[in-house]
């Protein structure tokens, strides 16, 4: 698994990817052609993947995103060093924080 700031990217075995996912609607790329895993509303800074691949929004145990990189790729962010990812499927997990009575997302 790989961690860039508040985003964790966890490899998922091909056989564990739900069968409907390859045909599910794909998340659009942003104006720069990147797959955005998490976007900061204020700075516009993004954890984003460069290279070929697809991002599927997937509620449930694999959610919110499943990332497929058939040739590997790089995840970049304006304030964090880039990380090279091998080819395969990944689950994208946003960091959260404990709040008594609830839980909230972290955004860096």
């Amino acid at each position: 698994m790989y961690r860039q700031g508040d985003v964790l990217i966890v490899p998922v075995a091909d056989e564990a990817v739900p069968s409907h996912v390859p045909d599910a609607p794909k998340e659009p790329r942003d104006a720069k052609g990147r797959l955005v895993l998490a976007l900061g509303e204020v700075t516009g800074h993004a954890h984003a993947v460069l290279g070929r691949g697809e991002l599927v929004r997937e509620p449930g145990p694999y959610g919110p995103f499943l990332l497929h990189l058939p040739e590997g790729g790089r995840v970049v962010h304006e304030e964090h060093a880039a990380i090279a990812l091998p080819k395969g499927w990944f689950r994208v997990i946003r960091q959260r924080e404990y709040v008594p009575g609830s839980v909230r997302l972290v955004a860096d």
């Binding site: 998340e27 659009p28 790329r29 052609g33 509303e41 700075t43 060093a81 955004a107």
Partner: protein
């Protein structure tokens, strides 16, 4: 579609569908900017948009356009107004919106429409709608905190508003150029909320200040998070509404005052504002546990569950070579730093093992 070399492999297919998607992404970014614009209204453009919306609906247009400093003042003007005529919201906005949505739905099919929404309005909806809800609640509380009848009446006026800049999410999803929605789209890019009546259109200024956190929630410790030119303002800390008096008090906090606060949510805000690190050092707290992922701290609070936090170093150094430290609160039963960090990603301690961190 030009994918720049910034993409590294530049391997995005260049088919017409992708080109449309790329243009739409840029367009969605522009709608996003409209939704959070905190600059004076472009009054000439807004009034042109209003008249265009009336014309598209086959109406003569308002005799007067009245400006309000905020949605609160807009509501007040409408409640006092005697000669505005009937609301023409249905003809000016709702009917053309429904027709355009129906046309697109037929053209794209259910799956295509769903994809269009995900690419456009869906990305703007949550943060914008949260802001709209907060403004409505703020107007209600400011004008009629303890008057149920007035609250009902004001609530109806608020529900009747066209949202101007905050209509950006659904306008982003539809075709607005040269369509019957061109008028509302121009108002969205130029002004705040508005109400069309037969004889008068009431239209609001945009905020002069808007502070949000990276998750898009209202958030400011040094003044209102949202403020309009007439003084209507909302205070919030990471999305949680707080009063102006509470905010003012944050600057003079002491550990003693924090411990005395009965309301757990407000105490959490106080701790966050004061700084966990400062509070830890002032209260002489001892770390519970250290490992390769960070340090686990615990602050006991009287009559409340303890605050347990992991202190984590950012792996990417700052330009000066230092590492930024941050604290994340974790469940009180957490025993080790690794368990705490793993919990923040919904994982068990034994499986949390990043190969690389930046």
């Amino acid at each position: 579609m030009t994918i720049t070399q910034e993409n590294g492999t530049a391997a995005v297919a260049g088919g017409p569908e992708d080109a449309a998607g790329g243009d739409r992404a840029e367009e969605t970014a522009r709608w996003r900017a409209s939704a959070v614009a905190a600059v004076p209204a472009d009054r000439a453009a807004a009034e042109e948009g209003i008249r265009l919306a009336y014309r598209s609906a086959g109406l003569a247009g308002p005799e007067r356009v009245v400006w309000a400093g905020s949605p609160r003042e807009g509501v007040t003007l409408i409640r006092r107004g005697t000669d505005f005529g009937a609301s023409v919201r249905e003809a000016v906005r709702t009917a053309p919106w429904a027709a355009e949505r129906r046309r697109l739905h037929e053209e794209l099919g259910a799956a295509g429409w769903s994809r269009r929404w995900a690419e456009t309005g869906g990305a703007l909806w949550d943060a914008t709608q949260a802001l709209v809800d907060r403004i409505r609640a703020g107007v209600l509380d400011d004008l009629a905190e303890d008057d149920p009848a007035a609250r009902t009446e004001i609530g109806l006026v608020l529900l009747d508003a066209l949202l101007g800049q905050h209509d950006a999410p659904w306008l982003a999803a539809l075709d607005t150029d040269g369509s019957p929605l061109a008028g509302p789209a121009l108002v969205c890019r130029s002004a705040g909320w508005w109400w069309p009546f037969e004889k008068v259109a009431v239209v609001c200024e945009r905020p002069v200040a808007l502070h949000r956190d990276e998750a898009g929630r209202l958030d400011h410790g040094d003044g209102p998070a949202l403020e309009f030119p007439d003084g209507f303002a909302l205070c919030a800390w990471r999305g949680m509404p707080v009063t102006r008096a509470f905010l003012d008090e944050l600057r003079t906090l002491t550990p003693e005052r924090i411990r005395q606060e009965d309301n757990a949510e407000l105490r959490r805000v106080m701790l966050e504002y004061y700084g966990y690190d400062r509070y830890l050092s002032d209260s002489g707290a001892q770390p519970l546990h250290r490992d390769g992922t960070g340090t686990l701290w615990r602050i006991a609070l009287p009559d409340d569950e303890p605050v347990v936090m992991v202190e984590v170093l950012n792996s990417t150094p700052e330009p000066d070579g230092t590492h930024r430290t941050y604290w994340l609160r974790v469940p009180p039963a957490t025993r080790t730093a690794r368990e705490g960090v793993a919990w923040t990603f919904g994982l068990d301690a034994e499986v949390y093992e990043p190969l690389k961190e930046t």
